[in-house]
């Protein structure tokens, strides 16, 4: 052991400090408030300062020690840490190497949380059979949170961007401290009484377990459970779990995420409409193709000019619908417009002769009816095939009926 003396070099001094401190200040508990907290993203180590009203100490908690923490240390949080003083000789710096950390005076809260969770779970409040469906297209969304909190701004920003067609009704509440659980519970009751919203987001931004405590209280849990309006719980950060999350109909990791989950975006709705429009056009196009073949048939039968005119007028009507539709659809539906343009072109361009020229033939039975089914005529019967260039007579020698698609 180096002796204490009155003359040192810098490195001798630091070595001596290290020797004295590390020998006597190891495996100690220190209580203080966290500040300058930094969780290094790549190494996973935590660096922070522990302070009280007069003094502060640099601390490090390495990945191997911090990965099992059951809570997220944040600036301002009072904690009790267990560790050893260590001296960095090259710089003469002293820091506390932290092996364990727990919220100061909050051990009881953790116990209360676990007990509440267990008891409500056993009672069945978290069972999936009680979860209400979140409506796909809510018209109005209720929000229960602090009127001045960042969580509300996050929710409003997301909803304004994603779903400007959805209205929002806010019931501002306390979200921490005395009376907050009662206030949150009242707010949920009031939404149920008022009956104007389709779904409620209940939440707040991140904070210590103590800050989030209202969302762990039995009163809030039971109110959420009893609500007839579906509730999305959105409390704190992704790593924060509260009783409200378990009993709510849907848990969102953050308030912003709740706003994302609560309704599909206006872009997705437009996409769905475009798909629907395409489906309608595609089917109608098929119908029109078949109608042309019928017209072609009727054209050859002078006695039936009237029906042909009727169909012709229907097709003109259809072209007008298309024009009106194309006019009304706006510029965003380019894909859809392409489809309808193609359809319109087809309406103009598809003459009866072109249809047959493309290789279609139409078979007529002896009475002049179109043969739609291989069993419409008997074997041995003569039928007529109309082609693009003249017609011919043929005899049925066999048939191969197909099972009808349903």
């Amino acid at each position: 052991m180096p002796e204490l003396r009155s003359q040192y070099s810098v490195s001798e001094l630091n070595a001596q400090i290290r020797h004295l401190l590390e020998g006597s200040l190891s495996d100690i508990w220190v209580t203080g408030e966290i500040s300058n907290f930094h969780h290094h993203p790549s190494s996973g180590h935590m660096y922070f300062t522990l302070k009280d009203s007069r003094s502060e100490m640099r601390c490090a908690m390495f990945r191997g020690n911090n990965q099992f923490l059951k809570f997220k240390p944040t600036n301002g949080m009072e904690v009790r840490v267990f560790g050893s003083v260590s001296v960095y000789e090259q710089r003469g710096q002293v820091q506390l190497k932290v092996a364990r950390m727990e919220p100061a005076g909050m051990g009881d809260l953790f116990k209360a949380f676990e007990a509440m969770k267990k008891s409500l779970h056993e009672e069945g409040l978290f069972d999936s059979e009680h979860k209400k469906n979140i409506p796909k297209f809510p018209k109005k969304i209720g929000v229960v949170t602090s009127g001045s909190g960042a969580a509300l701004q996050d929710i409003l920003n997301v909803l304004n961007r994603r779903a400007p067609h959805v209205n929002i009704l806010i019931r501002s509440t306390k979200v921490q401290g005395d009376g907050s659980a009662q206030d949150i519970s009242n707010a949920i009751h009031e939404f149920n009484e008022h009956g104007s919203v389709d779904v409620i987001i209940v939440g707040r931004g991140g904070g210590s377990m103590e800050d989030l405590w209202a969302f762990n209280e039995e009163l809030v849990a039971r109110t959420i459970f009893e609500s007839t309006i579906p509730i999305i719980s959105a409390v704190g950060h992704e790593t924060d779990f509260t009783i409200a999350d378990f009993v709510g109909d849907l848990r969102a990791p953050t308030p912003s995420a709740a706003a994302e989950l609560v309704c599909i975006s206006v872009g997705d709705i437009h996409g769905t409409f475009i798909e629907m429009g395409n489906g309608l056009s595609r089917v109608l196009q098929g119908k029109i193709d078949r109608a042309w073949i019928r017209i072609d048939h009727l054209e050859n039968r002078t006695t039936l000019q009237q029906p042909q005119k009727r169909i012709q007028s229907q097709i003109e009507k259809l072209a007008q619908y298309h024009k009106r539709m194309v006019h009304g659809m706006g510029v965003t539906q380019t894909h859809f417009l392409d489809k309808t343009d193609a359809l319109a072109k087809q309406l103009v361009g598809l003459g009866p002769i072109q249809v047959l020229d493309r290789g279609y033939s139409i078979a007529f039975d002896p009475s002049g009816e179109i043969i739609r089914n291989s069993t419409d005529i008997e074997i041995g019967e003569i039928f007529t095939l109309k082609t693009g260039q003249g017609s011919l007579d043929a005899e049925k020698t066999s048939d191969h009926p197909e099972p009808k698609n349903t």
């Binding site: 409506p135 796909k136 297209f137 018209k139 209720g142 009127g147 409003l156 909803l159 304004n160 779903a163 400007p164 067609h165 959805v166 209205n167 929002i168 009704l169 806010i170 019931r171 501002s172 009031e190 939404f191 009484e193 008022h194 104007s196 206006v266 709705i269 437009h270 769905t272 409409f273 629907m276 429009g277 489906g279 309608l280 056009s281 089917v283 109608l284 098929g286 119908k287 029109i288 109608a291 169909i311 229907q314 009507k317 259809l318 619908y321 539709m325 009304g328 659809m329 706006g330």
Partner: protein
């Protein structure tokens, strides 16, 4: 409460549209019927899109007074 919208909801419109497409695809309908469905479908799409386009989000606050009466206040 402010004025009540007359349009069907998006959910109702989408359900109706789905059923129109399904029925048209089943292929049994007459051309006339198909045209009517087509027109109805396009009308629904157009009405919904115009609703979306002109929608202005209303942000309001729910307030219950001590007498138990609700007021709904617009928020800027």
């Amino acid at each position: 409460m402010t004025k009540k919208e007359n349009h069907p909801s998006f959910e109702t419109s989408l359900e109706r549209l789905e059923s129109l497409v399904d029925r048209m695809e089943s292929g049994d309908a007459t051309l006339e019927q198909s045209l009517a469905w087509f027109e109805e479908g396009m009308g629904l799409i157009k009405s919904c899109q115009s609703q979306l386009k002109h929608a202005e989000q209303k942000v309001q606050e729910l307030i219950k007074n001590s007498a138990g009466e609700f007021t709904v206040k617009d928020i800027e």
